[in-house]
Structures are given as C-alpha cells and as structure tokens.
Amino acid sequence: MGWESLSALLGPLGSPFLWQQMTQALKETLLMVSLSLVLAELGGLPLGVLLVVSGPGHLRPNPVLHHVLGIVVNVGRSLPFIILMVAIIPFTRLIVGTSIGTWAAIVPLTVAAIPFVARLVETSLLEVDPGVIEAAQAMGASFSQIIGRVLLPEALPSLIAGATITAINLVGYSAMAGAIGGGGLGDLAIRYGYQRFQVGVMIVTVVILVLFVQVVQVVGDSLARRVDHR
C-alpha cells in the first residue's frame, strides 16, 4: 500500500464534520447502552429472583410459575435481535411515540436484554450458599428480608459481573440499532466505513468500540472486586 492510498484512506478523518459525527455517535451509544442497561436490570432482576425462588426446594417453590417464566425467558433469548427489533415496532411506537431514532432503539434493546439479565441473575442467586438462606430462616427472617438482606447482598459481586456482561452485549446489539435509525458508533461504522468505503472511519470506530468495551469491563471488574468478601 502506497502513501497515496493511505492518505485516501485516512483523508476523511481530517474533516471536522466527521469528528462531530463521531462524537455524536459515541454519545448515542452511551445513551443507548446505559439507559437500556438500567431498564433491563430493573426488569430482569425481579424476573431472575422469581425464577430462583419459585424453583424446586427454594423459598417459594411453584412449578407452574417456574416453568412459564423459564419458557418466556427462553423465547425472549432465542429471537435474533434484528428480528426482535422489527417485530416489536408497534410496541416501541406505543412507548416512545416513534419507531425511529436513538430513543426508539432503547425499547428493543431493553426488551432483548431483560431475559438475558434474568438468566444471569438466576445463575448468580443460585450460587448463594443454601446453608446461609436456611440460617436466615432459622433466625426468623421473612421472605422479603431473605431476598433483600441475604440473597441479593450475598450475590452482589456476581450480579455486578453479570451486569458487566450485559453492558458489553448491549454495545454489540446497539450496533444494529442503525437499522431503525438509532445512530451510534456501529451505525457510523456501517454507513461511512462500509457503505462509503471509508476504511479509516471503520478503523477508528472499531478502536473506539474496543476501548469502550475495555473500560466497561475494567470498571465492572473493579466494582465486583470491591464488594467481594467471599
């Protein structure tokens, strides 16, 4: 590769317009990932708790509820994100009033992440020593006290690790949000880097995404470590 082609490749990077676009895209990605992460945790956490406590031999065994929840979660997880995004457009419109744009992308991102979070939460809570739960029961703790003061605090390091994985997955999903005009770094990479053959844009976007994921992982790990006294 000669100098000429290299400068052609990196040429567009000199344009202030593109950098403006990139800053904008980064903001959009941040918004999509953080908001849908929070919403997905809000939805997935109770769902995961229900999955666990309704399981056999746990606090409130309920085979019917346990199975129905399991099926719902599995269906939610088996739909490819791009299909789900399109399929729930009427729902999205109902919630945010439009099916296009960053805000509209947050709805399918959240819907897709909830069952994912639920399963991760389930796994985390099942790791809690049953002996500790039993000890709390023996001390006269109520159902809600056991969940709030035993299950969740004991599983906290693992729950944080799970949220980190969810956040990183959401970065990947959010790249597809371009399909409904959601914007974000992934969308920028496709429109400029792929459709306009601006390989330089592609590389820079990918580098930013890699750094982004790295930061999320490092922050998540250190948070999890800080609360882990096991």
């Binding site: 002996g131 006269g140 703790a141 109520s142």
Partner: protein, 376 residues
C-alpha cells in the same frame, strides 16, 4: 441454674421443672424417587431448662432431621414439638417467624453472611427483629466480647479461622437472647483443639446464662465433654436416653453399644484388641463409674484368686461430671479361675465387658502408636 443442681440431676432422669423442649411422637418421611425413607419414627423426648442435651447417632440416623424439626426448618409429618410452652408444629407464617427468633442455631459450616463483617453478622438477627440501632450496637459489642472476637469486629468471615467463624456463629445465635440454642454438628468441621475450645465456650454460656442447649453430633467425645443427658438415635428411632454417664458406661441399646465399641476401638490400640486369647487368657473392658473408682477392686481380684491380671490400657475421664475409669485387662489362669474373676468384678459393681476379637478387616489396619495406650 446452679452447677450444683445440675450435677445432682445428672444421674437421675426425674426433673421437677417443666420441660423446655417437648418432642412427642415425631415422625418424618422423605420420598426419594419411588422409595419412602422414614427419617424419624415416633420420636419422643424432653429437654429441661438449663441442661445440655445431646443427640447422638451415626450419619443418616435422622439426627439432622430431628434438630431441623425443632425450629420447623423441616415440617414433621406427625407429632408435636413444643418449645417454652409454645407448640411449634401449630405455627405458620408470621407467628412461626416470631417463635424462631427465640431459638438460636449454630451450624456445621457456620452459615455466615460473606457480604457482612463479623459485627454485621452478629447484628443480623437483631436487625431483622427490628431492634433499635443503639441497642444493636451495644448487644453486638457485648457478644463479641463474650466470644473473644472484639478485635475482629470489622473483619469479614473469609478472613477468619474455622474456630473464629463458629464463635461468630455462636455470638449471632445468642444475639436475640434465645431461650434455646440448637447446635447442628457445630464442631464437626473443626480440628480437635478448636473443637475443645468451642465446646468450652458453649459450656461456659450454659453455666453463666443457664441457656439450654440441644446439640446433635456423631462425635461421641463431644457428648462426653459437655452434655448432661444424651439420646441415641438409630434408623430414625430413639433407642436410648439417659444421663451421659449412664448411657456411656452401660449402654442398653444395640446402637449405643455399637457406638461405644467404635469409640473403644478409637481409644485402644488395635494390637491390644487383637491379642490372641482363649478360655484361659481373656480380654475384658472394665468400667469404673463413680464410687467404685475409689476402691482397690483390681488388687482384690489378684490377691484372692489364682489369676494374673495384666493392665493393657487405662484412662480416667469425666462423663457428664462424674469420674469414669476405664481399663482394658487381660486375665489369665485356669478357665474356671478366669471366669470366677469376671464374676467377682461384676459383683463388685464394675462394668465388665468381654472384648471379642475384632473382625479381620479392621484388624488389618495397623494402628499408630498412642501415648496413652501403654501396656503395664
């Protein structure tokens, strides 16, 4: 309860006080696939205020189910459990929660919250019972002082040794000032030395606060060390109950004898138990409980009968507060004289049990030399 009254009650089963724990016709079955397992079969007994009551049995005998039925962690299929006048088996929901707060429990694997500090763990039962904060702080300080862990208040359980963890467990169990302490194999995960210090702590708590303790264990020495009375459970059935000294020195049930024999084998070197014998060289285990321990019975035998008496093993220990001497002796002479010596010892109130050869399997295991097992 004063130590003196405890000691007086040791050799008699009759108590004047009303029982603190009453277990009546307790039955519990488990389904395992298609098979039904009877974990508890019509078990009845009573625990009196201020005593340390032990339940002993091999693993799988049903002791665990039994202790879990006391605070209804396991709901029995039939029978009644009453603690401090309250019929536990009738309670559900909130009233059961309230009743459980009066019963402390300690566990084999400690069951401490890893997310909380030592102080946080001790505070836990007080928090869930809604104690005010200043009171919680005061109680926690007191209890950590009691179990000797004041300096580790801010440590997490993972930073503690097993013995320290169990001390935290004990402090936590005592926090809401329970009327009864349940101990579920609390020392089984600890080394012998730590076990002893935890047992001493429980004993001190029992003496100082008069707290009634109900403990289950498969370790005979734990019962021997601190219990006043003991029940033996075998295949879900209570087969024997009585003062520790009585049950240990002359077990009536087959299971009790089996447990004792296992203990004897642990105590006495195998090569002694495997000495060759015939009708003119017989091996006996002699037990001297209380009074008879002070009389020179063995000397009398040798002086009055034409036999040789060789002491192979000897030990004196405390059984529920009563001195208990044990000897393993070989008596040799004519078959008639040996038999007469046996009868004589029996007449003098010595527990006499002939030691039969150990079966080939266990005999094949070489035993390490033991300090206390010297032959005379």
């Amino acid at each position: 309860m004063a130590v003196a009254t405890q000691a007086a009650g040791i050799l008699s089963d009759s108590r004047e006080a009303a029982p603190l724990v009453e277990v009546e016709h307790l039955t519990k079955r488990f389904r395992q696939g298609r098979r039904e397992i009877v974990a508890l079969d019509d078990v009845s007994f009573a625990v009196y205020p201020g005593e340390i009551f032990g339940v002993m049995g091999l693993s799988g005998a049903g002791k665990s189910t039994l202790i879990r039925c006391i605070n209804l962690l396991e709901r029995p299929d039939a029978g009644r459990v009453t603690v401090a006048g309250q019929e536990m088996t009738r309670l559900t929901g909130r009233s059961l929660m309230q009743a459980r707060r009066r019963i402390g429990m300690i566990f084999q694997h400690f069951a401490l919250l890893s997310s909380r500090t030592v102080a946080g763990n001790v505070a836990f039962p007080l928090e869930i019972a809604g104690f005010p904060r200043p009171e919680i702080r005061r109680r926690v300080d007191e209890l950590l002082e009691l179990v000797g862990l004041s300096d580790r208040a801010a440590a997490y359980p993972s930073q503690l040794s097993g013995g320290q963890k169990q001390r935290v467990g004990i402090a936590r169990a005592l926090a809401p000032e329970p009327v009864l302490l349940l101990s579920d194999e609390a020392t089984s995960a600890l080394d012998p030395e730590t076990t002893l210090s935890v047992l001493r702590l429980l004993q001190e708590i029992n003496r100082r606060m008069g707290l009634t303790i109900l403990m289950i264990t498969h370790e005979m020495h734990v019962i021997r060390e601190i219990c006043h009375r003991v029940a033996v459970i075998d295949q879900g059935r209570l087969v024997e109950i009585g003062p520790v000294a009585q049950v240990f020195s002359r077990p009536q049930s087959e299971a009790g004898q089996r447990l004792l024999r296992a203990q004897l084998q642990e105590d006495v070197p195998a090569d002694i138990l495997n000495r060759p014998r015939d009708s003119s060289h017989r091996l006996f285990r002699l037990g001297f409980l209380g009074e008879v321990a002070h009389e020179p019975v063995v000397a009398e035998v040798v002086r009055t009968l034409p036999v040789m008496l060789n002491v192979l093993f000897g030990r004196i220990e405390q059984l529920g507060g009563v001195p208990w001497g044990r000897l393993v002796v070989e008596i040799s002479g004519t078959p008639a004289a040996v038999e007469e010596a046996r009868q004589y010892l029996k007449r003098r109130g010595v527990e006499v049990e002939e030691i039969r050869p150990v079966d080939q399997e266990s005999a094949a295991v070489p035993s390490p030399a033991r300090v206390e097992g010297g032959a005379a």
